[in-house]
Symmetry: C2
């Protein structure tokens, strides 16, 4: 295919850089591997009807009450007072979540979803649904921005690696004029054979492992365990 006819593919490694990218007319893939987007993919894969992301504990309680939904969210690694469940994907097996609505508040992921509101479409990405996201982006043939949530605006390793993994798989279908994309791809190529080892050096691992979440991390790095394509639309995330 002529390069000039390919849609663009860009990577934003932090929410603090997202304003540099024009999101209108583009598909934005929101990435928050540990753990918001991994948990959303898992809940929907296990049959949740929808996930409603909110930015505060108060909204979570209020909407949960209105809808009779499950409320979940953590602050500083603990279930937030007034909510029922945490942010771990392992808390949402089919036996628990099937057919239900989950109202979820997270620190970084929810904020990024709201920041991406000008996009043509917003897709939820994780290692757990890597292949289905890649297949979808290629099939849609539209310009794409991969938007990493990071941690309080700092770039993080796991989100950057996933951006690189997506880029590496689909770049032949896109026009890549973005150094952050080249960097993410090199990072992915350098780390994917022993990703757990690299993540153990990362800031998030140190933060989460203090709360005993090593099992979460091992799960969130698995590829294609939750084969759903979640789309964010009108305030809720549902299967495409």
């Amino acid at each position: 295919m002529d390069k000039g006819n390919k849609p663009s593919l860009e990577v934003s490694l932090s929410p603090a850089l997202l304003h540099l990218y024009d999101l209108s007319q583009k598909i934005v893939v929101v990435i928050d591997v540990l753990r918001a987007t991994s948990t959303i993919c898992t809940a929907l894969h296990h049959g949740a009807q929808k996930v409603i992301p909110v930015d505060s504990v108060e909204k979570c309680i209020e909407i949960g009450r209105q809808l009779g939904a499950i409320t979940a969210g953590e602050r500083d690694g603990q279930i937030a007072p007034g909510l029922e469940h945490g942010n771990s994907p392992l808390e949402y097996p089919a036996s628990f979540i099937q057919g239900k609505t989950l109202v979820l508040t997270t620190t970084n992921g929810t904020r990024l979803l709201h920041m991406a509101k000008d996009a043509e479409e917003i897709v939820i990405g994780s290692f757990l649904n890597l292949s289905i996201v890649c297949d979808y982006l290629v099939a849609r043939n539209r310009p794409v921005v991969l938007a990493c949530a990071g941690w309080k605006d700092r770039i993080n390793l796991e989100d950057s690696v996933l951006a690189g993994a997506i880029l590496h798989r689909i770049k032949s279908h896109f026009d890549v004029q973005c150094d952050a994309a080249l960097i993410a791809e090199q990072l992915y190529l350098a780390t994917h054979n022993n990703l757990m080892e690299h993540i153990q050096q990362a800031s998030h691992y140190k933060r989460l492992s203090q709360h005993g979440f090593q099992r979460d991390i091992a799960y969130c790095l698995k590829i294609d365990q939750a084969t759903v394509l979640p789309l964010y639309r009108d305030g809720a995330i549902e299967r495409a």
Copy 2:
């Protein structure tokens, strides 16, 4: 050495992320490989008395006139109207620059210098003075932030690779709790054996090569060709 006693070493991959780092009491290394910090190192190595970085063409003309100094700067890859010279390090051989003052305006590098004004010290880094910068940081034994200039707040490849090169050389002397540092190091390890090839895929290369600056780029990637340690202090950059 006990890890707890080592000073911190962090990497900011874009000026838009620099506010996340507390710069007070720290040494900031400003990195703008193509081409501000490479040109500054070269001019000082070739005997320039000082380099005065300014953020506008108007200031450049005014200060140049006051000091009887050489004025230099580009906009969109061309010598800016009213100035005498460009941003290429190859324009500043000893036969031309020795003993003189250079007033330089650049798009990204100057702005970053001003953003880092709260730092304890500001060091100018490039591939051209890599070893002397590394030796200095280890000897000073103070917390360090490596601050990449990028391009209009976007992360770029060449500055990130240099940050990774510095980190890789000196990390055993520092406490590294920063994912951007891990990413920069992986990028350096993945690209340093064929850096020119990788840079040819980068956005800056495409921009500069349109203006015929391939020679500049090849020069700016050379290690230890300008063995000076430039420090920014009170508005001017001089050899330490």
